[in-house]
Symmetry: C2
Subunit: 169 residues, 2 copies
């Protein structure tokens, strides 16, 4: 049971986007460089975020990414689901219907007890992640950070961000 590395990168990237000034964007390569990770693979995660409606992108010269909605409407679960999929972690293959004592399909109208228990646990996991938004993360980071570190980030963002075109949003 592993969460893909892409989820970590995607959350960090989204947090970074949250920090940039209004009306400006950041390209995938810059975000990869900021975190010192392979650019092409970071780009893949950002595509997943755009597909899920978490980020918006604009192509061409001076293109880039920005958040598609307020940070307090983007939960950690939203990002996890966008990158790793929203399917259940426990996949019941109904082996209770197999073998010499297998149940008949008509006696399997309610879910397998084992699968049901895992579904409850996964729901608890999701609920916990849904309760944490990008805004929460950002707030904690700002609180804990040294002032000069925040200043350094601001400077870097000012140098790297581009004003997004009107169409691109």
């Amino acid at each position: 049971m592993q969460i893909s590395k892409g989820v970590e990168w995607a959350v960090h990237a989204a947090s970074l986007l949250n920090g940039l000034p209004a009306g400006r964007g950041l390209k995938a390569e810059a975000m990869a460089r900021y975190h010192d990770v392979p650019a092409a693979y970071m780009a893949k995660q950002l595509q997943a975020l755009s597909k899920a409606g978490i980020t918006k992108s604009s192509r061409g010269a001076h293109g880039g990414y920005r958040l598609a909605k307020p940070a307090d409407e983007i939960s950690l679960w939203d990002i996890t689901a966008a990158v790793d999929g929203k399917g259940p972690a426990f996949r019941c293959t109904e082996i209770r219907q197999n073998g010499p004592c297998g149940l008949k399909p008509k006696d399997c109208k309610q879910a397998c007890q084992i699968a049901a228990a895992f579904a409850v646990a996964e729901q608890a996991f999701r609920d916990s992640l849904e309760a944490v938004t990008l805004a929460d993360i950002a707030g904690q980071v700002v609180n804990d950070a040294q002032p000069d570190h925040l200043f350094a980030i601001m400077n870097w963002l000012n140098a790297e961000t581009v004003p997004l075109s009107d169409k691109g949003l």
Copy 2:
């Protein structure tokens, strides 16, 4: 984020062991046949259960497996951890320390906010699974099943189980 198929098999196998008469055992091949799954791979899961102290095994002629402790002391999390490992699903690689604005190690004494949020969610997941024991599963299954189905299982177990030797326990 996927839970391996082996976990499903292991839980079903453990449930089956819970149903067998006191002092008797069941070999890996029989459990595989009962669920109509590959014997060698089922065996692998049972080895993991034994290693974790959930089952006890005895080798040689008339060998087999049995539960190592009462069913109400074996939780779904115990089995999941035995088969899939107990490591965290979200693996923080500390990319906050990377790149042009990376944090210094001395400023990273407390865990990354993102990793912390995932740790909370995973704890909720574990807590939920720890609250469900094999005894709970067995109780629900017995309640829901048709009497003739339970009878069929009993007959099959009587035919397949072997009396475990004294040493083997």
